[in-house]
Amino acid sequence: MEIRVDRERCAGSSLCLSYLPEVFDQSDDDGKVLLRTPVPGADMEEAVRGVAARCPTGAITLHARDAQDA
Protein backbone atom coordinates (compact mmCIF):
# COMPACT_ATOMS: atom_id res chain seq x y z
CA MET A 1 0.00 0.00 0.00
CA GLU A 2 1.19 3.48 -0.80
CA ILE A 3 -0.09 6.52 1.06
CA ARG A 4 -0.56 9.87 -0.65
CA VAL A 5 -1.52 13.09 1.05
CA ASP A 6 -3.10 16.10 -0.56
CA ARG A 7 -1.59 19.03 1.30
CA GLU A 8 -3.98 21.45 -0.40
CA ARG A 9 -6.94 19.71 1.21
CA CYS A 10 -5.37 19.05 4.63
CA ALA A 11 -6.95 21.21 7.34
CA GLY A 12 -4.12 20.59 9.81
CA SER A 13 -6.38 18.76 12.24
CA SER A 14 -3.39 16.78 13.64
CA LEU A 15 -5.55 13.70 13.78
CA CYS A 16 -3.39 11.44 11.61
CA LEU A 17 -0.11 12.17 13.35
CA SER A 18 -1.64 11.95 16.80
CA TYR A 19 -2.56 8.37 16.08
CA LEU A 20 0.25 7.26 13.80
CA PRO A 21 3.31 9.39 14.51
CA GLU A 22 5.45 6.71 12.85
CA VAL A 23 3.71 7.36 9.54
CA PHE A 24 2.54 10.98 9.58
CA ASP A 25 4.19 14.21 10.66
CA GLN A 26 3.21 17.86 10.62
CA SER A 27 5.06 20.79 9.14
CA ASP A 28 6.06 23.51 11.56
CA ASP A 29 5.68 26.03 8.75
CA ASP A 30 2.12 25.48 7.64
CA GLY A 31 0.77 23.00 10.19
CA LYS A 32 -0.17 20.60 7.44
CA VAL A 33 0.48 16.91 7.09
CA LEU A 34 3.84 15.46 6.05
CA LEU A 35 4.46 11.82 5.21
CA ARG A 36 7.19 10.05 7.12
CA THR A 37 6.48 6.57 5.78
CA PRO A 38 4.78 6.61 2.37
CA VAL A 39 4.82 2.82 2.17
CA PRO A 40 3.87 1.41 5.57
CA GLY A 41 4.64 -2.16 6.59
CA ALA A 42 1.88 -4.75 6.30
CA ASP A 43 1.36 -4.65 10.07
CA MET A 44 0.46 -0.94 9.86
CA GLU A 45 -1.96 -1.10 6.96
CA GLU A 46 -5.10 -1.57 8.95
CA ALA A 47 -4.26 1.33 11.26
CA VAL A 48 -3.46 3.52 8.24
CA ARG A 49 -6.83 2.66 6.68
CA GLY A 50 -8.53 3.67 9.92
CA VAL A 51 -6.76 7.01 10.02
CA ALA A 52 -7.40 7.71 6.33
CA ALA A 53 -11.12 7.18 6.95
CA ARG A 54 -11.01 9.58 9.88
CA CYS A 55 -9.18 12.43 8.13
CA PRO A 56 -11.72 15.26 8.20
CA THR A 57 -10.86 16.51 4.74
CA GLY A 58 -10.23 13.27 2.87
CA ALA A 59 -6.65 14.37 2.31
CA ILE A 60 -5.18 10.89 2.85
CA THR A 61 -5.62 8.39 0.03
CA LEU A 62 -4.34 4.84 -0.27
CA HIS A 63 -3.13 3.30 -3.47
CA ALA A 64 -2.08 -0.15 -4.59
CA ARG A 65 1.64 -0.27 -5.40
CA ASP A 66 1.56 -3.06 -7.94
CA ALA A 67 -0.61 -5.95 -9.05
CA GLN A 68 -0.22 -8.09 -5.91
CA ASP A 69 -0.80 -5.23 -3.53
CA ALA A 70 -4.39 -4.06 -3.20
Partner: protein, 401 residues
Protein backbone atom coordinates in the same frame (compact mmCIF):
# COMPACT_ATOMS: atom_id res chain seq x y z
CA UNK B 1 -44.52 38.90 35.60
CA UNK B 2 -41.34 36.85 35.23
CA UNK B 3 -40.49 35.78 31.69
CA UNK B 4 -41.32 32.19 30.80
CA UNK B 5 -38.08 30.49 29.81
CA UNK B 6 -38.11 29.72 26.09
CA UNK B 7 -38.51 26.03 25.26
CA UNK B 8 -35.28 24.11 24.73
CA UNK B 9 -34.68 23.86 20.94
CA UNK B 10 -35.48 20.40 19.62
CA UNK B 11 -32.01 19.57 18.36
CA UNK B 12 -30.46 20.23 21.78
CA UNK B 13 -32.83 17.99 23.76
CA UNK B 14 -31.33 15.01 25.55
CA UNK B 15 -32.22 12.44 28.17
CA UNK B 16 -29.16 11.93 30.34
CA UNK B 17 -26.46 10.72 27.91
CA UNK B 18 -28.82 10.08 25.01
CA UNK B 19 -30.52 12.20 22.35
CA UNK B 20 -34.12 12.77 23.53
CA UNK B 21 -36.78 10.38 22.20
CA UNK B 22 -38.59 13.12 20.28
CA UNK B 23 -35.34 13.98 18.53
CA UNK B 24 -34.61 10.35 17.67
CA UNK B 25 -38.14 9.84 16.37
CA UNK B 26 -37.48 12.59 13.83
CA UNK B 27 -34.70 10.57 12.28
CA UNK B 28 -37.10 7.63 11.78
CA UNK B 29 -38.42 9.47 8.72
CA UNK B 30 -34.98 9.50 7.04
CA UNK B 31 -31.62 11.19 7.39
CA UNK B 32 -32.89 14.71 6.53
CA UNK B 33 -36.07 16.16 8.03
CA UNK B 34 -37.88 19.48 7.69
CA UNK B 35 -38.24 20.95 11.19
CA UNK B 36 -39.05 23.95 13.28
CA UNK B 37 -36.42 24.01 16.02
CA UNK B 38 -37.91 26.74 18.15
CA UNK B 39 -40.85 29.10 17.84
CA UNK B 40 -39.99 32.26 15.96
CA UNK B 41 -36.82 30.75 14.55
CA UNK B 42 -37.55 32.33 11.18
CA UNK B 43 -39.70 31.40 8.23
CA UNK B 44 -37.15 30.01 5.81
CA UNK B 45 -37.14 26.22 5.49
CA UNK B 46 -34.97 24.56 8.10
CA UNK B 47 -33.68 21.01 7.78
CA UNK B 48 -32.25 18.81 10.49
CA UNK B 49 -29.61 16.44 9.14
CA UNK B 50 -29.39 13.37 11.35
CA UNK B 51 -27.74 10.65 9.23
CA UNK B 52 -23.99 10.13 9.66
CA UNK B 53 -23.24 10.03 5.94
CA UNK B 54 -25.42 13.03 5.17
CA UNK B 55 -23.81 15.06 7.98
CA UNK B 56 -20.36 14.26 6.57
CA UNK B 57 -21.62 15.18 3.12
CA UNK B 58 -22.86 18.59 4.27
CA UNK B 59 -19.88 19.47 6.48
CA UNK B 60 -17.43 18.17 3.88
CA UNK B 61 -18.80 20.30 1.03
CA UNK B 62 -17.93 23.96 1.45
CA UNK B 63 -18.85 24.63 -2.19
CA UNK B 64 -22.54 23.80 -1.96
CA UNK B 65 -22.96 24.72 1.73
CA UNK B 66 -22.00 28.07 3.18
CA UNK B 67 -21.42 28.87 6.87
CA UNK B 68 -21.27 32.57 6.31
CA UNK B 69 -24.12 34.81 7.23
CA UNK B 70 -22.46 37.58 5.27
CA UNK B 71 -21.15 38.13 1.80
CA UNK B 72 -22.26 37.37 -1.71
CA UNK B 73 -22.91 33.64 -1.43
CA UNK B 74 -25.29 34.10 1.45
CA UNK B 75 -27.35 36.70 -0.33
CA UNK B 76 -29.38 33.71 -1.56
CA UNK B 77 -30.46 33.30 2.05
CA UNK B 78 -31.68 36.87 2.19
CA UNK B 79 -29.05 37.76 4.78
CA UNK B 80 -26.99 40.83 5.45
CA UNK B 81 -24.21 41.38 2.95
CA UNK B 82 -22.03 43.42 5.30
CA UNK B 83 -20.14 41.72 8.14
CA UNK B 84 -20.56 43.74 11.33
CA UNK B 85 -17.46 44.63 13.33
CA UNK B 86 -18.14 42.08 16.05
CA UNK B 87 -18.30 39.31 13.46
CA UNK B 88 -14.83 39.98 12.06
CA UNK B 89 -12.38 37.13 12.61
CA UNK B 90 -14.97 34.55 13.70
CA UNK B 91 -13.66 31.73 11.56
CA UNK B 92 -16.74 29.51 11.57
CA UNK B 93 -18.63 32.32 9.91
CA UNK B 94 -16.32 32.55 6.87
CA UNK B 95 -16.40 30.71 3.54
CA UNK B 96 -13.42 30.20 1.26
CA UNK B 97 -11.43 32.06 0.05
CA UNK B 98 -11.51 34.29 3.19
CA UNK B 99 -11.72 31.25 5.46
CA UNK B 100 -8.72 29.70 3.73
CA UNK B 101 -6.69 32.88 4.11
CA UNK B 102 -7.30 33.12 7.87
CA UNK B 103 -7.14 29.43 8.68
CA UNK B 104 -3.88 28.98 6.77
CA UNK B 105 -2.15 31.45 9.07
CA UNK B 106 -3.65 29.90 12.23
CA UNK B 107 -3.05 26.20 11.54
CA UNK B 108 0.72 26.29 12.27
CA UNK B 109 -0.03 27.76 15.71
CA UNK B 110 -2.15 24.72 16.62
CA UNK B 111 0.10 21.83 15.72
CA UNK B 112 0.66 18.99 18.15
CA UNK B 113 4.23 20.23 18.72
CA UNK B 114 3.04 23.75 19.44
CA UNK B 115 0.46 22.47 21.86
CA UNK B 116 3.08 20.39 23.65
CA UNK B 117 4.86 23.59 24.58
CA UNK B 118 1.78 24.41 26.64
CA UNK B 119 1.72 21.04 28.33
CA UNK B 120 3.59 21.97 31.54
CA UNK B 121 1.32 25.00 32.02
CA UNK B 122 -1.79 22.91 31.44
CA UNK B 123 -0.56 20.31 33.93
CA UNK B 124 -0.01 23.04 36.50
CA UNK B 125 -3.50 24.48 35.94
CA UNK B 126 -5.10 21.06 36.33
CA UNK B 127 -3.09 20.31 39.46
CA UNK B 128 -4.25 23.61 40.97
CA UNK B 129 -7.87 22.75 40.21
CA UNK B 130 -7.52 19.30 41.76
CA UNK B 131 -5.88 20.87 44.83
CA UNK B 132 -9.04 22.96 45.17
CA UNK B 133 -11.19 19.82 44.89
CA UNK B 134 -9.16 18.22 47.65
CA UNK B 135 -9.42 21.31 49.88
CA UNK B 136 -13.18 21.56 49.35
CA UNK B 137 -13.50 18.15 50.97
CA UNK B 138 -16.49 15.86 50.89
CA UNK B 139 -18.50 16.45 48.84
CA UNK B 140 -16.76 18.66 46.29
CA UNK B 141 -18.50 19.93 43.14
CA UNK B 142 -16.44 18.59 40.26
CA UNK B 143 -18.12 20.97 37.81
CA UNK B 144 -17.34 24.18 39.65
CA UNK B 145 -13.85 23.22 40.76
CA UNK B 146 -12.67 21.11 37.84
CA UNK B 147 -14.77 20.85 34.64
CA UNK B 148 -15.56 24.57 34.44
CA UNK B 149 -12.37 25.73 36.14
CA UNK B 150 -9.84 24.13 33.78
CA UNK B 151 -10.65 25.45 30.26
CA UNK B 152 -10.58 29.21 30.98
CA UNK B 153 -7.04 29.43 32.36
CA UNK B 154 -5.82 27.06 29.62
CA UNK B 155 -7.19 29.41 26.94
CA UNK B 156 -5.69 32.41 28.75
CA UNK B 157 -2.39 30.59 28.67
CA UNK B 158 -2.83 29.97 24.93
CA UNK B 159 -3.62 33.53 23.93
CA UNK B 160 -1.47 35.16 26.60
CA UNK B 161 -3.87 36.85 29.02
CA UNK B 162 -1.65 37.77 32.00
CA UNK B 163 -2.41 36.10 35.32
CA UNK B 164 -3.53 39.26 37.07
CA UNK B 165 -6.21 39.91 34.47
CA UNK B 166 -7.59 36.41 34.26
CA UNK B 167 -10.28 36.36 36.91
CA UNK B 168 -12.03 39.46 35.60
CA UNK B 169 -11.58 38.50 32.00
CA UNK B 170 -12.88 34.95 32.46
CA UNK B 171 -15.81 36.12 34.54
CA UNK B 172 -16.91 38.17 31.54
CA UNK B 173 -16.42 35.34 29.06
CA UNK B 174 -18.51 33.03 31.23
CA UNK B 175 -21.14 35.72 31.76
CA UNK B 176 -21.46 36.13 28.02
CA UNK B 177 -22.21 32.44 27.57
CA UNK B 178 -24.65 32.23 30.48
CA UNK B 179 -28.08 31.84 28.93
CA UNK B 180 -29.88 32.56 32.21
CA UNK B 181 -28.59 36.15 32.33
CA UNK B 182 -30.32 39.25 30.98
CA UNK B 183 -29.53 40.09 27.40
CA UNK B 184 -28.11 43.49 28.34
CA UNK B 185 -25.77 41.95 30.91
CA UNK B 186 -24.50 39.47 28.37
CA UNK B 187 -23.98 42.15 25.77
CA UNK B 188 -22.09 44.30 28.31
CA UNK B 189 -19.86 41.36 29.23
CA UNK B 190 -19.23 40.76 25.50
CA UNK B 191 -18.32 44.38 24.93
CA UNK B 192 -15.96 44.37 27.91
CA UNK B 193 -13.98 41.29 26.90
CA UNK B 194 -13.87 42.50 23.31
CA UNK B 195 -12.31 45.77 24.46
CA UNK B 196 -9.86 43.88 26.63
CA UNK B 197 -8.78 41.68 23.73
CA UNK B 198 -8.38 44.68 21.43
CA UNK B 199 -5.93 46.14 23.97
CA UNK B 200 -4.10 42.81 24.25
CA UNK B 201 -3.72 42.71 20.46
CA UNK B 202 -2.38 46.28 20.44
CA UNK B 203 0.19 45.40 23.14
CA UNK B 204 1.37 42.36 21.17
CA UNK B 205 1.69 44.45 18.02
CA UNK B 206 4.11 46.71 19.88
CA UNK B 207 5.98 44.03 21.82
CA UNK B 208 5.32 40.58 20.45
CA UNK B 209 6.18 37.78 22.91
CA UNK B 210 6.77 34.07 22.30
CA UNK B 211 3.11 33.15 22.74
CA UNK B 212 0.41 32.50 20.20
CA UNK B 213 -0.54 36.12 19.51
CA UNK B 214 3.07 37.28 19.48
CA UNK B 215 3.97 34.60 16.93
CA UNK B 216 0.99 35.47 14.76
CA UNK B 217 1.91 39.15 14.77
CA UNK B 218 5.54 38.34 14.04
CA UNK B 219 4.83 35.92 11.19
CA UNK B 220 1.74 37.50 9.67
CA UNK B 221 1.41 40.92 11.22
CA UNK B 222 0.65 42.63 7.93
CA UNK B 223 -1.86 40.06 6.77
CA UNK B 224 -4.19 40.31 9.76
CA UNK B 225 -6.12 43.42 10.65
CA UNK B 226 -6.42 44.25 14.36
CA UNK B 227 -10.11 43.43 14.23
CA UNK B 228 -9.39 40.03 12.73
CA UNK B 229 -6.87 39.25 15.46
CA UNK B 230 -9.31 40.40 18.11
CA UNK B 231 -12.08 38.29 16.60
CA UNK B 232 -9.86 35.23 16.47
CA UNK B 233 -9.08 35.63 20.19
CA UNK B 234 -12.78 36.01 20.98
CA UNK B 235 -13.56 32.92 19.01
CA UNK B 236 -10.84 30.84 20.66
CA UNK B 237 -12.05 31.89 24.10
CA UNK B 238 -15.71 31.22 23.44
CA UNK B 239 -15.24 28.06 21.37
CA UNK B 240 -12.98 26.41 23.93
CA UNK B 241 -14.94 26.92 27.17
CA UNK B 242 -18.28 25.08 27.08
CA UNK B 243 -17.09 22.22 24.92
CA UNK B 244 -14.28 21.33 27.30
CA UNK B 245 -16.28 21.88 30.48
CA UNK B 246 -19.05 19.73 29.00
CA UNK B 247 -16.65 16.92 28.11
CA UNK B 248 -14.91 16.97 31.49
CA UNK B 249 -18.11 16.99 33.56
CA UNK B 250 -20.18 14.56 31.50
CA UNK B 251 -17.18 12.35 30.84
CA UNK B 252 -16.42 12.07 34.56
CA UNK B 253 -20.04 11.11 35.20
CA UNK B 254 -20.08 8.54 32.39
CA UNK B 255 -16.92 6.93 33.75
CA UNK B 256 -18.21 6.94 37.34
CA UNK B 257 -21.29 5.09 36.13
CA UNK B 258 -19.07 2.52 34.39
CA UNK B 259 -16.45 1.60 36.99
CA UNK B 260 -14.97 -1.21 34.87
CA UNK B 261 -14.23 1.22 32.05
CA UNK B 262 -13.00 3.85 34.51
CA UNK B 263 -10.42 1.40 35.87
CA UNK B 264 -9.19 0.64 32.34
CA UNK B 265 -8.57 4.27 31.40
CA UNK B 266 -7.06 5.07 34.79
CA UNK B 267 -4.43 2.38 34.53
CA UNK B 268 -3.40 2.60 30.87
CA UNK B 269 -2.57 5.78 28.92
CA UNK B 270 -3.26 4.10 25.55
CA UNK B 271 -6.67 3.04 26.80
CA UNK B 272 -7.27 6.62 27.90
CA UNK B 273 -6.54 7.94 24.38
CA UNK B 274 -8.99 5.49 22.84
CA UNK B 275 -11.44 6.19 25.63
CA UNK B 276 -11.38 9.92 24.90
CA UNK B 277 -12.36 9.27 21.27
CA UNK B 278 -15.24 7.07 22.41
CA UNK B 279 -16.32 9.67 24.97
CA UNK B 280 -16.22 12.36 22.26
CA UNK B 281 -18.47 10.19 20.09
CA UNK B 282 -20.81 8.95 22.80
CA UNK B 283 -21.25 12.28 24.60
CA UNK B 284 -21.23 14.49 21.47
CA UNK B 285 -21.33 17.63 23.61
CA UNK B 286 -21.69 20.21 20.81
CA UNK B 287 -25.31 19.91 19.68
CA UNK B 288 -24.58 21.19 16.21
CA UNK B 289 -21.88 22.95 14.22
CA UNK B 290 -22.55 26.32 12.58
CA UNK B 291 -25.76 26.06 10.53
CA UNK B 292 -25.13 25.67 6.80
CA UNK B 293 -26.96 27.50 4.02
CA UNK B 294 -27.55 25.65 0.75
CA UNK B 295 -25.98 27.63 -2.08
CA UNK B 296 -27.90 25.80 -4.83
CA UNK B 297 -30.94 23.55 -5.24
CA UNK B 298 -30.18 19.88 -4.60
CA UNK B 299 -31.46 16.56 -3.33
CA UNK B 300 -30.05 15.39 -0.02
CA UNK B 301 -31.12 12.24 1.82
CA UNK B 302 -34.09 12.03 -0.54
CA UNK B 303 -35.35 15.56 0.20
CA UNK B 304 -35.51 18.54 -2.15
CA UNK B 305 -33.39 21.32 -0.66
CA UNK B 306 -33.55 24.79 -2.21
CA UNK B 307 -30.88 27.45 -2.41
CA UNK B 308 -31.17 29.58 0.72
CA UNK B 309 -32.52 26.80 2.98
CA UNK B 310 -30.75 26.30 6.31
CA UNK B 311 -29.37 22.94 7.40
CA UNK B 312 -28.58 22.09 11.01
CA UNK B 313 -26.44 18.97 11.43
CA UNK B 314 -27.08 16.95 14.59
CA UNK B 315 -23.76 15.85 16.05
CA UNK B 316 -25.31 13.52 18.67
CA UNK B 317 -27.52 11.74 16.12
CA UNK B 318 -24.78 11.41 13.51
CA UNK B 319 -22.46 9.94 16.13
CA UNK B 320 -25.15 7.47 17.21
CA UNK B 321 -25.99 6.35 13.67
CA UNK B 322 -25.57 2.56 13.16
CA UNK B 323 -24.03 3.53 9.81
CA UNK B 324 -21.01 4.74 11.83
CA UNK B 325 -20.73 2.07 14.50
CA UNK B 326 -22.40 -1.09 15.84
CA UNK B 327 -24.42 -0.70 19.02
CA UNK B 328 -24.07 3.09 18.93
CA UNK B 329 -25.85 3.62 22.24
CA UNK B 330 -23.33 1.59 24.20
CA UNK B 331 -20.31 3.35 25.72
CA UNK B 332 -17.34 1.09 25.16
CA UNK B 333 -13.96 2.67 25.63
CA UNK B 334 -12.19 -0.40 24.27
CA UNK B 335 -13.50 0.19 20.74
CA UNK B 336 -11.14 1.12 17.94
CA UNK B 337 -11.66 4.83 17.21
CA UNK B 338 -14.16 5.54 14.43
CA UNK B 339 -14.48 8.66 12.25
CA UNK B 340 -16.90 10.45 14.59
CA UNK B 341 -17.92 14.04 13.92
CA UNK B 342 -17.62 15.46 17.45
CA UNK B 343 -14.99 17.94 16.16
CA UNK B 344 -16.93 18.54 12.97
CA UNK B 345 -15.71 17.55 9.52
CA UNK B 346 -14.19 19.29 6.51
CA UNK B 347 -12.56 22.70 6.36
CA UNK B 348 -14.07 23.94 9.63
CA UNK B 349 -12.89 20.87 11.55
CA UNK B 350 -12.07 22.07 15.07
CA UNK B 351 -8.92 24.18 15.07
CA UNK B 352 -8.45 23.42 18.77
CA UNK B 353 -8.69 19.62 18.44
CA UNK B 354 -5.04 18.95 19.31
CA UNK B 355 -5.27 21.23 22.34
CA UNK B 356 -8.62 19.73 23.38
CA UNK B 357 -7.30 16.17 23.16
CA UNK B 358 -4.20 17.01 25.20
CA UNK B 359 -6.22 18.93 27.79
CA UNK B 360 -8.70 16.09 28.22
CA UNK B 361 -5.95 13.49 28.42
CA UNK B 362 -4.19 15.35 31.23
CA UNK B 363 -7.42 16.28 33.01
CA UNK B 364 -9.08 12.84 33.08
CA UNK B 365 -5.75 11.15 33.74
CA UNK B 366 -4.83 13.34 36.72
CA UNK B 367 -8.35 13.26 38.15
CA UNK B 368 -8.50 9.47 38.17
CA UNK B 369 -4.91 9.03 39.34
CA UNK B 370 -5.27 11.45 42.20
CA UNK B 371 -8.67 10.25 43.41
CA UNK B 372 -8.71 6.49 42.82
CA UNK B 373 -11.73 6.10 45.10
CA UNK B 374 -13.74 8.81 43.29
CA UNK B 375 -17.53 8.33 43.46
CA UNK B 376 -20.74 10.32 43.19
CA UNK B 377 -21.93 11.90 46.44
CA UNK B 378 -25.57 12.04 45.25
CA UNK B 379 -27.79 9.40 43.63
CA UNK B 380 -27.12 9.23 39.87
CA UNK B 381 -30.80 10.07 39.18
CA UNK B 382 -30.33 13.43 40.93
CA UNK B 383 -27.59 14.70 38.63
CA UNK B 384 -28.79 17.80 36.78
CA UNK B 385 -27.77 18.20 33.19
CA UNK B 386 -26.77 21.48 31.57
CA UNK B 387 -29.22 21.94 28.74
CA UNK B 388 -29.22 25.61 27.85
CA UNK B 389 -25.77 26.14 26.46
CA UNK B 390 -23.92 25.69 23.19
CA UNK B 391 -22.51 22.40 24.49
CA UNK B 392 -24.18 19.78 26.65
CA UNK B 393 -22.85 19.10 30.13
CA UNK B 394 -23.73 18.65 33.79
CA UNK B 395 -24.70 21.50 36.11
CA UNK B 396 -23.16 20.09 39.27
CA UNK B 397 -21.31 16.91 40.11
CA UNK B 398 -20.89 16.43 43.86
CA UNK B 399 -18.26 13.76 44.44
CA UNK B 400 -16.42 12.17 47.29
CA UNK B 401 -13.44 9.77 47.38
Amino acid sequence: MPNEPAPVPLHTRRTRFDPADELRRLSDGGPVTRVSLAPGAGDRPLWLVTGYHEVRQVLGDQVRFSTSRFGARSAAGGRAAQRPDEGIGLLMDYDPPEHTRLRKMLTPEFTVRRMRRLQPRIEAIITECLDAVERAGHPADLVELFASAVPGPVLCELIGVPRDDRDDFLRRCHAHLETGKERSERAAAGTAFTRYLAALVARQRKNPDEGFLGMLVRDHGDEFTDKELRGICILLMLAGLDNISGMLGLGALALLENPGQLALVRDDPAALDRGIEELLRYLSVPHAPTPRTAVEDMTLGGKRIRAGDTLVCSIPLANRDPALIDEPDRLDITREPVPHVAFGHGIHHCLGAALARMEMRIAYGELLRRFPGLRLAIPAEDVEFRVRSTAYGVERLPVTW
